[in-house]
Structure formats: structure tokens, C-alpha cells
């Protein structure tokens, strides 16, 4: 299991209600259901992934996260998770507001664009960074946003959304091991994970 998902899982209280936006095949939900007895729901845009998640016995809706999140009543969930999807979101501020409407807490993880390897690539080669965390070329990337940890924090402040927990981690995209980065996280961490609350 991806290390950022392990961190997210550790933040979620047992027996809580969890909505996972962009849940893929439901790895996080499966773990949370099994180990923490949460009531989980996922939304996944890809038919094959959504189908696999449902076939595993998870409650998952095949659809677009913006459209699907709107249908839930206020505070329907304790946690709404958006893991490694923020960089593909067209309108992050309305999505995060919506997440905090349907959920008490929202947890967001994303690849840190200002990671030193990315900076170095751009500085030395003058080309768009391609790394294990951001493995795409400029023309085929699904990522439409570049999100440094420092900018995300400022974004939360501007949005008036309190950051309840944050951790920066260093790991590789599909690596199940990692470490937290406390020293110069905006430079040295490859991912940021934030728990946001209501103001």
C-alpha cells in the first residue's frame, strides 16, 4: 500500500464514515473497512477500477468526483479523502469547500512540486520535471496543477480553512515505505498530506 495512504489510514478514527474521492480500486477503503470497521464509500471515474472496487465488496460509485460529491447531504461523512488527485482538479477551492460541506474533516495528499529533484531538473536541464512522483511528459500528463507544499498552505489560509494536521513525507510513488520529513519539507519532501477542518 502506498505510504501516503498508510499515513491517511492512520489518521482515520475507527467506526467512522469515510468518502474516498478518486478511490481507484479501493485499496484505502478496503484497508479501512477491514482494520477499522469504517463505513466507506468511494467515487472513481474509471470504469474498470470502479468495477474492481465493487467486485471486492466495496461501496463505490462510478462517476465524476465533482458531480457525485454534490449529492451527499451536509456532514454525511466524518472524513473525505482526496489522495493524489488534487493536481488533476480543475477547481480545487470549490472542491475542497464541497468536501468540507459533506464531511467534518478532509484529507488531501499530493506530490510536492517544489521537491528538490524537480527544482534541480528544471534548473539544470531547463525542462519540465519528470520523476517517479510526477512520471509524465508535459504533453501526456493528467496533472493540470503544480502544487508546492508551501503554496498549498497559503491556499488553505486564503480559503480560511484550518489545517488540523500536516505531514510531509519522502517516498516513491508506488513505494509502500517512506519517512516523514520535518526539516525543510517544501524542499525535501516528495509528498504533502494535510487534514483540513471546518472553520
Amino acid at each position: 500500500m502506498r505510504f501516503d495512504l498508510q499515513v491517511i489510514a492512520s489518521w482515520i478514527e475507527p467506526e467512522s464514515r469515510v468518502l474516498d474521492l478518486g478511490c481507484s480500486q479501493g485499496v484505502l477503503l478496503e484497508k479501512l473497512t477491514r482494520e477499522k470497521n469504517v463505513r466507506g464509500t468511494g467515487i472513481e471515474q474509471n470504469e474498470a477500477k470502479a468495477g474492481q472496487a465493487i467486485a471486492k465488496g466495496l461501496s463505490v460509485i462510478h462517476g465524476d468526483i465533482y458531480e457525485e460529491v454534490r449529492d451527499y447531504p451536509d456532514l454525511a461523512f466524518d472524513y473525505v479523502v482526496l489522495s493524489q488527485t488534487l493536481q488533476q482538479v480543475i477547481d480545487p477551492s470549490s472542491l475542497i469547500r464541497e468536501m468540507l460541506r459533506v464531511g467534518r474533516r478532509c484529507i488531501v495528499s499530493f506530490p510536492n512540486f517544489s521537491y528538490w529533484k524537480h527544482r534541480l531538473q528544471f534548473l539544470l536541464r531547463g525542462r519540465a520535471p519528470v520523476s517517479r512522483e510526477l512520471p509524465y511528459e508535459w504533453h501526456d500528463t493528467p496533472n493540470i496543477r503544480v502544487v508546492p507544499i508551501a503554496d498549498f498552505k497559503r491556499f488553505c489560509r486564503d480559503l480560511g480553512v484550518p489545517v488540523l494536521r500536516e505531514v510531509a513525507i519522502g517516498n516513491h510513488h508506488y513505494d509502500d515505505r517512506g519517512k516523514t520529513v520535518t526539516f525543510l519539507p517544501n524542499l525535501l519532501a516528495s509528498y504533502g498530506i494535510f487534514m483540513l477542518g471546518r472553520d
Binding site: A55, V60, D71
Partner: protein, 413 residues
């Protein structure tokens, strides 16, 4: 111009598919009958008694009665959902690919029940049945029915079989309407529901196609106002009705792949009104074959019931969210990309209403080019969705029973 390849009709698509046999079938099956002597006052106020219900069951009800799965057939289906009647019976039941040992509706685990709907013509009471008051077939004196009437009869059948709760109700198309009706009418009876390729109300387009089909029957002089059972039947009208239905079950792409403009056993256009094209020949063949097994009046009554079905009007005062406020089932909703008879937006509307009620719902729009018929064709995705969902339902029902029934219903939130 060269002749197209002869049209090989190997698979009868259309709500009553002959899919290639797959895996083991259930043991020899037998059609059974349940008679409700006291009958039922149906929605229009008329009393129907007695009511006969043809049904089949596969597998067996377990000790704590937690494994019953009700299968609801589509418009022109019947209670013969799986298995063979005898060793020389070439054709298995209509959903044999889904029901049987090791299949998604696994008869080693589940007690599967399928009955012919009220108003049908495959053993259950319908317009071709004898009216006890006159000693003659009802014909058009048969009361106009609703999906709710069908479901009420099914409920009595289940009670007769000792089933007190359904692990799941499963069905596609008009069968899916029955699934939805079940879950809203009898929320405590339905632990989970799997409506496939269906809608909570017909669109104007769907009603329009049904009306044209009904007009084809009623315009046939042999229909005789619905009282034709003494003489010739409105076969031509029924065949045309079936042809219309068929078109709505396919898709532009599936018709292009299956027929395109290929000619039927000829090298050139005939310049008369014979079946030049394979698609014409296919529709004629399907129409004529249908006439052998189906009653024209049943077709009228069943299409009318489907057109009348309107979950939000019946149960929600015009609000679909209001209708699902009654429900407590866990749902698996499935639509197919090329189904233009019951397009995905209609399934999404249901899913939305379920979510607004905090119900546990899974939804998948399956990519399939075959139109509405897709739900009856072999599809690995659908198999996996249904078997995974049912396994979870089995676990959750067991857990709920262990907790003395103190569940939160199907409310996920």
C-alpha cells in the same frame, strides 16, 4: 454487387437471449405453480381471484433463511431462468449464464426464485387465462395492471415458500422496475437490490415505442377487440410489435456490426417488398418466432404496466428522493453505455436519490456496444460486480442477524 454472407442467427438477442451455454447448469428443473385462491384486488380496484403463479426455484433455502435471491424477468421473459427441463431440452433458462453452481447467482449458496409476472402468458394468470365469471378467457376484460400488482403477488409467493426476507432482488429492464418497486414497497423485506439497465419511470420515448407496438397489435383485425382466443390470433400485429421492441433493444453500432446493409441470400436488390436486407429478415424471423410463444394481449398489458411505472409519483409525491426515503436496501445499480432505451442518466437519477437519502449504493456504467440487450449477454464486469456485491451482502446480513437485527438499514451514512 455481391451477396452478403448469409445472416447467421446464432444468438437471439433481445430481452430473451440465447447466450452460449457457460459453465455448469443447475440440476434438472421443474416449473411449479402456486395458486392464490383469495387472489388480489389490483391497483385499478378490480379483484382477480384465483391467481396462478408459475415459478421455479434453484438451490435451497438455508436454515436461518438468509440466502433467498429473487430474480425478476424482463418484459417478455418467464419463470424459466436457469437449467433444463429434461436431458433433451436444448435450451436452458433465460439467465443460465448468471444462475447456477459457481455462477454469480451461485445456487450452491443462494436460494434463487423466479416467477412469471402477473399478466404474463407463461403459466401465471394473465389475459389469456379463463375468467371464472364467464368461463372464457379474459381477453381485454383483464384489469390493467401495475408493476406494484406484480410485486404484491411475488410477495405472497415468497411467503408461501417460507421466505421472510430477501438477501437480494435482481432484475434488468422491466425486471429492474420490479426490483425498485420491491425495495420501496417492502423495505423491510429487501436487504439488497440489484436493478440493472432500468429506470424509475419511462421516458416519453420509451412510452412512444410501446404505444406504436400496441397499435400494431390493436390494428390487426384479428385482435378483435382483445377477444380472439376462439379463432385466429393477431399474429401479424404481435410480430410487428416484437420487431419494434427489438430495435429498441439493440444499438446503432450493434446493428451495424451484425447486419450493416448486407443483403439476405441474394445478390442484388429485389425491387419488390421481400426482405432484401439481413436486418429485415432478422426482424421478421424474430417477430414470427415470438408469436409462437407469446400472447398479444399479455404484450399489451405488460407494456402498459411498464409505461405506468413511476416510482416518484407512486411513493414520493413526485419526488424520487421522497420515494427512496422509504427504502432501506443496499443497492447495486448498473447501466450500459449504449442502452438508449434506459439511458445512463436515468440510473444516475436513481443513484442520486439514493445518495441523498444516505443509502448504501454502488453504481457502474458498463462499457458495452450492444444496446439495452447488454444486460443479458455474457459480461465479465457484470458477473464480478454482482458476485462481489452479493458476497458482501451475505456478510452484512449475517452480521446484522448476529447483532439481533439492530442494523442501520441500508444507510451507509
Amino acid at each position: 454487387m455481391t451477396a452478403g454472407a448469409p445472416c447467421r442467427i446464432t444468438r437471439d438477442m433481445s430481452e430473451y437471449v440465447n447466450a452460449e451455454p457457460r459453465g455448469a447448469s443447475v440440476e434438472r428443473v421443474q416449473r411449479q405453480e402456486y395458486v392464490m385462491e383469495q387472489g388480489l384486488e389490483v391497483a385499478c380496484g378490480q379483484r382477480l381471484a384465483p391467481i396462478r403463479v408459475a415459478y421455479e426455484t434453484y438451490g435451497s433455502l438455508n436454515e436461518d433463511k438468509s440466502n433467498a435471491v429473487l430474480v425478476l424477468h424482463a418484459l417478455t421473459g418467464d419463470c424459466h431462468a436457469a437449467g433444463h427441463y429434461s436431458d433433451d431440452d436444448a435450451k436452458p433458462g433465460w439467465w443460465d449464464i448468471m444462475i447456477g453452481p459457481g455462477k454469480p447467482l451461485d445456487t450452491d449458496r443462494y436460494f434463487v426464485i423466479c416467477s412469471n409476472v402477473l399478466g404474463g402468458c407463461m403459466g401465471s394468470t394473465g389475459p389469456a387465462s379463463v375468467n371464472p365469471e364467464t368461463g372464457k378467457p379474459f381477453g381485454s376484460d383483464f384489469p390493467v395492471l401495475t408493476i406494484g400488482d406484480m410485486v404484491r403477488v411475488q410477495r405472497r409467493l415468497l411467503e408461501h415458500l417460507g421466505v421472510e426476507r430477501l438477501l437480494s432482488a435482481v432484475g434488468g429492464s422491466v425486471g429492474g422496475m420490479q426490483v425498485l418497486e420491491w425495495s420501496v414497497r417492502y423495505p423491510d423485506f429487501v436487504f439488497s437490490a440489484i436493478p440493472l439497465a432500468t429506470t424509475s419511470k419511462h421516458s416519453a420515448q420509451a412510452i412512444a415505442f410501446n404505444e406504436v407496438a400496441r397499435q400494431a397489435i390493436m390494428a390487426d383485425p384479428q385482435w378483435s377487440g382483445g377477444h380472439y382466443y376462439d379463432g385466429a390470433r393477431p399474429e401479424h400485429g404481435l410480430a410487428v410489435a416484437r420487431m419494434i421492441g427489438h430495435i429498441t433493444y439493440l444499438s446503432d453500432e450493434s446493428m451495424r456490426q451484425k447486419f450493416d446493409r448486407r443483403l439476405q441470400e441474394r445478390c442484388d436488390l429485389s425491387f419488390n417488398f421481400e426482405a432484401d436486407f439481413q436486418v429485415e429478415s432478422y426482424l421478421r424471423y424474430q417477430g414470427n418466432k415470438f408469436v409462437e410463444r407469446f400472447d398479444a394481449n399479455s404484450f399489451l398489458y405488460l407494456t402498459k404496466a411498464a409505461d405506468y411505472f413511476n416510482l416518484e409519483k407512486e411513493w414520493g409525491d413526485g419526488s424520487l428522493v421522497g420515494a427512496f426515503a422509504r427504502a432501506s436496501a443496499r443497492y447495486l445499480v448498473t447501466s450500459f453505455t449504449s442502452d438508449w432505451l434506459y439511458p445512463t442518466y436515468q440510473s444516475k437519477a436513481m443513484v442520486q436519490a439514493m445518495k441523498k437519502n444516505g443509502l448504501d449504493v454502488s453504481f457502474c456504467e458498463i462499457e458495452a456496444p450492444w444496446g439495452h440487450d447488454a444486460f443479458l449477454l455474457p459480461n465479465e464486469r457484470l458477473d464480478n460486480l454482482i458476485s462481489g456485491f452479493l458476497e458482501r451482502m451475505e456478510r452484512e446480513l449475517k452480521k446484522e442477524m448476529e447483532n439481533g437485527g439492530a442494523g442501520r438499514g441500508g444507510h451507509a451514512l
